[in-house]
Amino acid sequence: MSTSLAPQVLPEKPWRPTFKRVLPDLFGALLTAVSTVLIVAVTPLKGKLGFSLTLIVMALVFSVLISGIRKDKKAAFNSVSTVFVYIAATFVLIPLFSILYEIYSRGVGALTWGIFTKDMSLSSADAPVSEGGLLHAIIGTLYLVAIATIISAPVGLLTALYIVEVKGRAAGLVRFFVQAMSGVPSIVAGLFIYAVWMIGLGNSYNAGAGAAALAILMIPTVARTSEEVLRLIPPDLREAGLALGATQWRTVAMIILPAARSGLITAIILGIARVAGETAPLLLTIGGADAINLNPFSGNSSALPYYVWKNLSLGNPESIERAWAGVMVLMLLVFIFFTLARYFSGKRAGR
């Protein structure tokens, strides 16, 4: 590179709004804030609802007035829509932050070492939160997720390979049905497993049945994400493999899958994050238990979402507190999976 012979020129951005052009907007925002505070103080409008409603109305009024007076009707419409879009974005964020805040503030109190090391077999439902724990639920969820992954990861991956690599005659149809399958209500998956496993085969509740129901919900997520990942593999790699005389099987196994590895891991983890918190199918399949059950194919078992559900329906204050603690642990688990998925997909993008 040249040793700065040319004078250092800062890049100019002529489209950037100047202070003079921002001034009316600032003025409008100021007017909105002041008038809202005044109106809430003077009129009987009270509380958060009154405050936010007044704020919205005032923001609309002043943005329309300012742009309408300065320019024309079109500008007024433009500012109305701008206000609406910002409000919509805020409304999307409010529930999320409220949920995260409430889970933290209500769940953190019950979060002691004890709940990770004990189960509920020796504690009654209305015992204080310091007694008992949710180890049985964590173990149940880990079993469920592991078995569901063992079932659905190969099936989802094969489905993606069928659509992208083999391009079979039914590829379009399979793609369409997998899309539709991702909308199957979770309760229907539970009913189906109940019909096959309990009514049809005469088994009783166990974690394996729950995992089968979760696998049905997990397959579409894994298949669709893997499909997108496989489509991103450059065709050069595929053609190079075939041109070297490799069979399709060796091309896929030695070139395509290794190249797509981190993306495929992301697909599986996203599937896990999708089903780890599913409750409805578990209500029909795993039976629920208060003690640790280490055998996933025999005897009732519990799971974190089931634990939350059960304590919520019991309804006494201690159970409710347990439910919040369970929700906190469940959310931590989901976030761990989610962060892992983002980490692996970020690795792919970086390469």
């Binding site: 909308g183 049905i216 099987w249």
Partner: protein
Amino acid sequence: MSTAAPTSPPKRVITTKPRFSDKVFRAIVTAGGLSSLVVLALIAFFLVYNGLDVFRSEGLKFLTGFDWIDASPEEGLPAQYGIGAMLYGTLVIGFLAVLFGVPIAVGAALFLSYYAPEWIKKPMVVVVDVMAAIPSVVFGLWGFFILMPHAEYWAKLIHKYLGFIPFFDMPAPAFTRSPFIAGLVLAIMIIPIVTSISREIFAQTPLDRIQAAYALGATKWSMIKAVVFPYGAGGIVGGAMLGLGRALGETVAVYTVLNLVYDIRIEVLLSAGGSVASMIVNKFGEADAPELRALMAAGFVLFLVTLLVNFIANIIINRTARKG
């Protein structure tokens, strides 16, 4: 130079037979690929097979009847199973969810695509993804303990000032666990999927049209109205229908915030509503064999309705995405 039009060489035909390993590979992949079709078919088959008796004995009354009464042999009364009220309630809360959720979701998608500065945009996309990963039981718990007290107050305000409209009338002062509140919770649950699908479709709007609109002096809103909405209309409709499908099949969150009543009421603020999915959970615990069959039949109806909504939604979205 010859004047004859250049002709493309004849297409080459691959004559080599596939290797044995490739045959095995394709067979396995095809089997795996077709398994999702098989699973869907099996779901339909088993639910119909188990619910067949109920479909036969109740006939069309299964879809229109309001009563869910077990047989009582001592009084000699036969069982009556009808999911009419629940089906109606499901549609009501689904409609409310779309009504509340879709405008906010589309607004948020517009914000992310055209209004947000880069430093807000990236984290907010992640935040919306995170929201999609929150389990429904969490929404149920939050909806019951946090949202419900607020929503009850809003419902009272609506009733006070708009009570003359039949939908907001109240025969009894019971404002909790109403279709209105269930609709709010469902709206929050469907916002992430509607937002991300609308955003994907908006991203495919041709850039030259956008720049052409700006060059002609359009404001941001006129540009969106003239370019983005016509191109993305299918995506918005399809996304809204996908959200509707989710809302119709939602079980646990609805069960916690909705009071199930076997009656058709138009008052959405009243603590009386219905949901097929929640009814299945509600009745499953103490169901005997005939009632279980009726629940299977109800599950089949739910399966069909959501599958249909999803089919239509995906057709619309795929068509819009291809056009863009």
